[in-house]
Symmetry: C2
Subunit: 178 residues, 2 copies
């Protein structure tokens, strides 16, 4: 693969179509994504409206990585509106296979964690990842996530076999300045 | 408490208002319910429509317990439409405090598990429960659930303190007759 310049920025409503295109490709490349064609069958118009709403929300960040005009990855943190859970951010990262092993995951993780640290509301980050997705597990460990559970039968592969899913988490602490 | 006759049946659209009333009361009685007034602020009409839809769905069961006309408890299993997760049923039970310690939890659990065993699609049941909700943890263990994770900071109490939340699961296996 040739060199490329990557741009990282918050998703805009106009990106909806390109993000969906990328997600469909990611879903075909591996078994790692939970969303299938049904989950991804939302319309561009609906997803556009979702992005518009999340731009105004304090509990959702959606970043995209671009190689020129092409969306090559996405990363998000989302937290609940319920007050008992609003301190928990659910994290997700997807990258096109062609762009693996170039450090893009680390760049996106740094952005996500910086945003979480600046978000006074968040005290815990968590994510689900298939244990067979070793590259992702390695990335999350590198950024301080630890395994809280091995969920047996936590997902199914394309052939229907049961897969282990790891529940991983990381605390965020906010220290006030004097 | 006097004796009472309990009726257990699937929720009907007409029950929407009484179920919401019960859930609001449960949410006030303890910290155990994740849903708060925001989560419960859905309209009766909307919830009615949800019940109508779930009645036609194979991946959602909503049972209610009644003392005469009053809804005193609810129990549900819900699974995802995504094919990687459709074998996982998420389980929940809520009972009005006044009706605790009468064996109602066990009656509802038996119904849920029987339904899960008859549902060819389900191979794993899971639930989240606050570790301080010892009565519920005891019930789930009695029915074969085991703790997969102690989620630190998994929820917050009314005073904002962090609470441990247990992730519990139980396998369902379907054995075919000869």
């Amino acid at each position: 693969m040739e060199e490329f310049d990557v741009t990282i920025r918050e998703a805009q409503p106009e990106d909806a179509e390109n993000i969906l295109k990328m997600m469909h490709k990611v879903a075909k490349e591996t078994e790692f994504l939970v969303m299938d064609d049904v989950g991804l069958s939302i319309s561009v118009a609906f997803f556009k409206e979702q992005i518009r709403q999340l731009q105004e929300s304090m509990n959702y960040l959606l970043l995209i990585a671009l190689d020129k005009e092409q969306v090559i990855g996405a990363a998000s943190i989302r937290s609940s509106d319920e007050k008992r859970l609003s301190h928990i951010g659910e994290l997700g990262i997807s990258i096109l296979k062609e762009y693996w092993s170039l450090g893009l995951g680390s760049i996106l993780m740094e952005e996500l964690i910086t945003w979480a640290q600046e978000n006074d509301q968040l005290y815990r980050l968590e994510l689900d990842v298939q244990s067979q997705n070793q590259r992702a597990v390695h990335l999350y460990k590198k950024f301080g996530f630890s395994v809280e559970a091995v969920k047996k039968r936590g997902a199914r592969g394309d052939d229907g076999r049961f897969l282990d899913v790891l529940l991983m988490s990381k605390f965020i602490d906010h220290f006030e300045a004097d």
